[in-house]
Amino acid sequence: MAGDNKRTVAFERKGAARLVRGAACYADDLQLPDTAYASFVRSSAARAKISRLDLTSARRSPGVLAVVAFADIMGDIRPIRGPEGPLANCLIYPLPQSEVHYVGQPLAVAVAESRYQAQDAADAVDIEYDLRPAVLDPEAALEAEAPLVFAELASNVVQEVHISSEGVDKAFSEADHVISERLRTQRIAACPLEPRACAAVFDAASGRYTVWTSTVTIHAVRQQIAEVLGVKENRVRVIAPDVGGSFGGKVHPYPEEILVAYLAKRLHRPVKWVETRIEHLTNVRHGRDQIHYVQAAVRSDGRIMALKSKIIADFGATTRFINSLPAAALYSTGAYDIQCHQVDAFGVLTNKTPQGPVRGIGKADAAYVIERFMDIVARQLNLDPAEIRMKNFVREDAFPYRTATGSMLDSGRYPTCLRKALDLAGYEELRKEQAELRKKGVLRGIGMCLVIEPTSAARRGQGGGYGACRVRMEPSGTVSAFPAYGHQGQGHQTAIARIIADRLSLLSDDVEVFAGDTAESPYGSSAISSRSAVTLMPAVDVAATLLRDKILRIAAHVLEIAPGDLRLETGLVRAVGAPERELGLRQITRIAYIDTYRLPPGLEPGLEVTGYFTAPNIIWEPDERGRRNEFVAVPYEAAVAVVDVDPATGRFSTVRYVAVHDCGTTLVPEIVETQHYGSIAQGLGEALFEELRYDQDGQPLNSTFMDYLLPTVNDIPLIETGHMVTPSPFTPLGAKGGGETGTLGPPAALGNAIEDALAPLRVKIRERPYTSDRLWKAIHQEAS
């Protein structure tokens, strides 16, 4: 923060000291006296009727307190309806009535005195399934005669987006070249290191529930628990204690949170549940898994005159609205000026784990597709991949720029950013080097991309678009801050404290942040969609400014000086131009809280305010063509990857990865830098090996960290970064949000680099991740 000039010590993130000591309190670390443990029984069938569910022997298992399935809870719970659209016809219960829709779906829950006893009891539940053929291929599931995932619906298509500009067909009929491709993103999981976990107590005397849960969305979880249990939401308090990462996985309510609260009441005891990693990989909402058919009308100089996109997203057995579909559809033209565009997108049910957000949701799919496609077009026209991008980028003087879907690109310098990344990588030299190496038989490839990652989503029926924070100056002059939601490792406390300290002339250490508790946080969204820098921090700024103004009004009244002639300094207010006239902050707080008769007439007591910030550029209502703007700001990143592929093994190694990032004004540069590395690492995992696979019966083929691989330290190449700052005109602090952009680059840049390396063999790479067996097969099929 530019204004925080009081910082003299080396950077240290607020609140991190307790984490390095092992003194944090994640949900499983809670020590509630007399806690009972829950363990879930989960479906081992992808699509089946439950023909027998026998809880008898489970209920006899040692230490068991309860084993419940749908029939045991149906009298106490209420179903909720799915979101607007076809899913509104579904009644959703936390445990299924008679049919299961994916492997891993919770079927029943056992509670016992200890963790191990709970699991023993869950294992003793006897289930028989009447198996039905699983619906697994989203394209086949689109067909009219396809079996239905949810019998109560007319079709497996539960969400659609159609936007078209004028003249698309004409542009295609006049095109020099029409180039088409099918590209697919694989199914992945968020995999925060801390699995989900929750604990609940019910206080019978007050009728109140308290639920501690490892969630990002405290308010939404409270709402849903109240709705399903049929209680008023003010009887449910949801607290997110320390949360060990989310990356989308801990967003929105899950059935386990509702059932743990329910069981705490039923058993008159605290109940705790901790997700295993197998449960995580089969239950945490999955991401990506989209098929894109993309077709371009291209002029011979490489200018793209029109684009058609058809998107089929595999939603799994979702009962929720999935933001990935509109996000992918709205940004399918990427960073390019393609005003002639038609997009048709379909969200399709299958018998797989339900989808949800994963870092980069939807925008990651769109960015991957358009960035791979630019290279495919360039290769076909024999153009340099940098040249075709430069030819098609949105011009730097065209911002704010509205795409053909109505989406607003707030600010950006795309050509400059790519140029900077190419210069940092030494692009000309790299090409020369590549030519030399090719002569020696080394398959070196250079790939690039420029990805955009719009942030702070707001959508009709889904909320978002504003931030909220309450701040209170305590009698001592220190400040307590209550943002609308908590954090999962992003470092919000540091940014919040800096903003408040700056506006109120305090030290960051004088500001304490209390987050993630519905009893004290203002209502609001959550940290999803990189929203915090974009809408929460401006709300913090508003609140701190309101507080400062009130302090100055009180001082003005006492000192009989106009507020405009006063300045807030450390611990006091002083008259500008008359430095001997001052009033201590403690005197002011005393007037605000104790000697309120000294307040200016009409001014209410107290020094506690709530600040709101509403994003000014959301367009909620689609126009007649379906165009709208759902995101506030658009950070972006250019990446250049250099790889060597070994044709004998199919392995590739990343020689260099250069990334130039622009997330607008950076509130805490150190935090942005750290998060940027992690963001890129997650994208590397997606490019290298992360893929959730299913067999023909819908059985997950990888559901532990032995077979679903996350990148280790050895998988991270040398990452060279550069930064640019192009402030967003739509956020008062200029920040665009920096948490997700880096994730989008590696699948595109590495895919392009690998294909470039294999160009002498004319091998095409259209599937990801880029595992050695996939590359080997591609190389050898082509050769044979």
């Binding site: 950077f11 092992g22 994640y26 020590q31 290191l193 750290t674 997650q682």
Partner: protein, 160 residues
Amino acid sequence: MAHLAVTVNGQERAADIEPRLLLVHFLRDELKLTGTHIGCVVGRCGACTVLWKKRPVKSCMVLAIQTHQTEIITIEGLSRDERLHPLQEAFLKSDAVECGYCTPGMVMSAYGLLLKKPNASGDDIKRAISGNLCRCTGYVNIVKAISSTLAQGKYPAVRE
């Protein structure tokens, strides 16, 4: 039930436990040492790393009873009162901590390296933490923190 007597962070602890009890659950649930975390229970993520007989092990891969009459050090044993271990200080100074869930395991793996090889190279550092997953940081600052501690060359030996 089996009787377990074990020294944890310099203190003698005893309990009657189920033979199947994992060390990580013994530490967390019986001794309330919740700084040791659980991320996968297949020995892959390293969040549960502790020192057993002065070597880093994944405590989800060890039965508590196997540690009978031996010595364990957990993250809680690394700092002394208010004073952090230099490794912990370095994690803070290098901004190597985001959500913090992998941090104790990461620190314990690094601590194991420090004890074994005070002159460890960059490759040694990578090898030492290659069994510890972090989803937040991309490892860059973690490696930085460990190298800077090694470069300082002063850190207390294992607590006897």
